[in-house]
């Protein structure tokens, strides 16, 4: 079965994926899953669904995900304008473009985190990646970019989990290969600009140690196999490690897993987890467990899925490099991919375009600009002109290429400066004395 990290990115707003594995129980695209959506109290039900969103599958009939339905179904809350304004007031600056444009759009208990923060009570951030491949694309980076913003504006520490053990279990990689990929991915993550003074990156294979293992077992004692099956759709034919792994992913939500960082007055620190909304069922499990271990429930801030270059109907596939912009792409590659593969909502001919304007609903370049073009005024102007026909597809794509090139170039430059020693420093089990400084 495809793990919830099968899109090669744990907790990322990954592009909608077809199921990758040939597992017996998982359905192929088109069918809905047998062990489908877990209901809030943990029961599972066989439901005929129009859209399926869970940690290992994201698909919808007709291609378009209905996020309102999703939020209702999961029972999380929408991130509304007043919360965004609250962000701006508390942090003293403009909210991140992903917040303003609604890419991060749902949450659980975010108000509690903000209330506590205003009272002077801190929190820490927790995110991670399933290192299944060496090459990352922009969709993978998005949650890390957002997490970096959170780290900067709130000045709080961050732990990043690299689940090399998970990739070993689900992808059949060797232990050594998973470890290697974890370190390689760590370099790209570091290049996103995390502050070494308040960031701890760890890989499961090397960090497993008494504090976190004890928490894993405590969590394991709270969640039955039935619940795990409900959330992850496993069967008795699956290897046993897959049943155990969810506990490993839950453990970093509890500060005592990191006694070298959170001790003394920080031993009950609150946790905020930026993730993609398909991870929600998973963290429901973690939130259920938290009070039983006398911890705050981890709060979540959740994102939509990042559109593939080919648009809603496109299938993102690891073997199709033209479905996304990779961080290793050259400027020429970016230009080529956007021009040739980005799905356009513009009309077929220039005359028609001038007359009718573009369909902004399906236009992928505009969607990408929505997330990556920081200037609100310019974006508005582009949408108006493109929608009315004053602007042509080629022009919009050209602007997108500029914006993406800048981002990719910046990332590559930062990535080039990351050495093995840098990774060692980020992954060293060390106290972070100025983590709230």
């Amino acid at each position: 079965m495809a793990s919830f990290r099968s899109c090669a990115s744990f907790r990322s707003c990954h592009l909608p994926l077809p199921l990758l594995s040939k597992s017996k129980m998982a359905s192929t695209t088109g069918e809905t899953l047998a062990a489908a959506e877990p209901i809030a109290d943990g029961r599972t039900e066989e439901v005929e669904e129009e859209q399926v969103v869970n940690p290992w599958e994201v698909s919808a009939k007709g291609g378009k995900i209905d996020y309102d339905k999703l939020v209702d179904k999961f029972g999380c809350q929408r991130l509304d304008e007043s919360l965004i304004q609250r962000f701006e007031r508390i942090t003293g600056r403009r909210a991140h473009v992903f917040l303003r444009r609604g890419l991060f759009f749902a949450h659980r208990d975010l108000s509690d985190i903000l209330d506590a923060y205003e009272r002077g009570e801190k929190f820490y951030l927790y995110t991670g990646r399933g290192p299944s491949s060496e090459s990352l694309h922009l969709g993978h980076l998005v949650p890390f970019m957002f997490t970096k913003y959170l780290q900067d504006v709130f000045k709080v520490p961050l732990v990043i989990q690299l689940t090399d053990d998970e990739k070993c279990m689900w992808k059949g990689l060797s232990v050594e290969e998973s470890e290697r990929l974890a370190r390689e991915n760590a370099k790209d993550i570091i290049a996103c600009g995390f502050d070494v003074e308040r960031t701890f990156i760890f890989a499961d294979f090397s960090y497993m140690s008494p504090p976190i293992y004890k928490n894993i077992v405590r969590i394991a004692n709270c969640v039955t196999g039935n619940k795990i099956v409900g959330i992850f759709g496993l069967t008795l034919e699956d290897y046993g490690g897959k049943f155990f792994f969810p506990y490993i992913q839950a453990a970093p939500s509890f500060p005592s897993s990191f006694p070298h960082i959170f001790s003394g007055k920080y031993s009950k620190l609150r946790c905020l987890i930026p993730c993609a909304i398909d991870q929600d069922p998973y963290f429901r499990m973690t939130r259920d467990v938290a009070p039983r271990l006398s911890y705050h429930k981890p709060a979540l801030i959740e994102s939509k899925f990042f559109p593939a270059l080919q648009g809603e109907s496109g299938k993102m596939s690891a073997s199709d490099p033209n479905s996304a912009i990779y961080v290793t792409d050259s400027l020429k590659d970016i230009k080529n991919k956007v021009n040739r593969y980005a799905f356009s909502g513009g009309q077929d001919t220039i005359e028609k375009q001038r007359k009718y304007g573009a369909n902004l609903e399906v236009d992928v370049p505009v969607k990408y600009l929505n997330f990556f073009l920081d200037d609100d005024a310019e974006l508005l102007s582009i949408k108006e002109k493109y929608g009315s026909g004053a602007m042509l597809t080629g022009e919009v794509k050209a602007r997108l290429i500029e914006v993406l090139s800048e981002i990719v170039e910046r990332h590559q430059r930062a990535r080039a400066a990351v050495t093995e020693e840098t990774v060692d420093a980020f992954m060293a089990v060390r106290p972070l004395p100025r983590m709230f400084g």
Binding site: I190, V196, R413, A417, V418, T422, D424, A425, R430
Partner: protein, 331 residues
């Protein structure tokens, strides 16, 4: 990011705080100010920007006719007899982001002023209106005391009203009654005269970063080849929080951009006439926007690389206990 008068007034409006505003020529004293705004029927304030021997900063905002005795206040704050002095002139633009003659509690809206302690004359509470400069001494605004409190709370400040004329005897049995108002951290004041030998990595990092502000931004080199230059002319840090300031990437980039823009503007002014002021500001804002992201990324890279070097040096030195006896024994 320094707040402007307009931004402050916009914030007051956001908070639904009503205020009266009066423009007038720049005034440097309360008497002058009274000529223009006395008719508003509010209480004029005199605002003192002070520092103590440990470089901690205070704003004392008092009614115009309240007697403020710095010697007594100094004792009440637990700073000894002559502990309070006027803050250095450079601290005004640097910390409060206001010009000479414009000291006002509203300056605390700036992040840079977060460690400045505010003492308010309790006499304000009984006034109908209180009058302050909204970050410039060419304007005076009047607002009710409760609205003023509302503003302070909105920037995370608990208003501290004090009987400024009270002169309790401070001694063994009478601890300084205002000691709770002394700020927790001191700020790196410009023109700091304390001479302390550079200690280790933190001071070095600061020195390196300070060096960078004097040069145009360059790509960070390979950390192992980077020379950590000793800077005789720069001010070494002794305070841990000042170290936090100096390792703050955003503050660093802000300073760099400010220095560059100031120089740029003055060079530009030499070429064209003063009327292009707005265009220049606009252009500068545009330049800053475009260059910020890259600068921030590069500076963070530098910081992480420098930390990595220090970290590994630390590890390596513990492998040589004989040569580094002190380090091992200290553990």
């Amino acid at each position: 990011m320094a707040f402007t008068k307009d931004q402050l007034l916009a914030r007051l409006q956001e908070l639904k705080i009503e205020f009266l505003s009066c423009d007038h020529p720049a005034v440097m004293t309360v008497e002058e100010q009274a000529k223009y705004v006395g008719h508003l029927g509010g209480a004029l304030s005199k605002n003192l920007f002070l520092k103590d021997k440990k470089h901690r900063l205070y704003i004392i905002s008092a009614l115009a006719n309240t007697k403020v005795d710095l010697k007594i206040l100094s004792q009440r704050l637990g700073l000894g007899k002559g502990g309070l002095r006027m803050a250095p002139e450079e601290a005004l633009p640097e910390i409060l982001h206001v010009a000479l003659g414009s000291v006002t509690p509203f300056a605390l809206i700036n992040e840079s002023a977060r460690s400045v302690s505010l003492l308010l004359d309790k006499g304000f509470k009984s006034q109908r209106y209180c009058l302050f400069h909204p970050l410039t001494n060419e304007v005076t605004i009047a607002l009710t005391p409760s609205d003023f409190d509302k503003f302070l709370l909105s920037i995370g400040r608990e208003p501290a009203y004090v009987d400024l004329e009270d002169c309790p005897v401070v001694g063994k049995d009478n601890p300084p009654d205002l000691a709770y108002l002394v700020p927790a951290e001191a700020l790196n004041l410009p023109g700091g005269a304390d001479k302390v030998p550079p200690t280790s990595a933190p001071a070095q990092t600061n020195a390196t970063l300070e060096q960078k502000t004097k040069q145009p931004t360059q790509k960070p080199k390979e950390p192992s080849k980077e020379q950590k230059q000793k800077s005789g002319k720069d001010k070494p840090q002794i305070n841990a929080d000042a170290v936090a300031d100096s390792t703050n990437v955003e503050k660093f980039v802000e300073k760099v951009l400010e220095k560059v823009s100031n120089v740029f503007i003055s060079e530009l002014s030499k070429q064209s006439n003063a009327e292009d002021g707005n265009i220049k500001d606009h252009m500068l804002e545009g330049v800053k926007q475009r260059v910020s992201f890259d600068l921030l990324s590069m500076t963070m890279t530098l910081k992480n690389s420098v930390y990595t070097q220090g970290f590994h040096a630390g590890i390596e030195s513990t492998l040589y206990p004989l040569a580094n006896r002190k380090i091992v024994e200290r553990k």
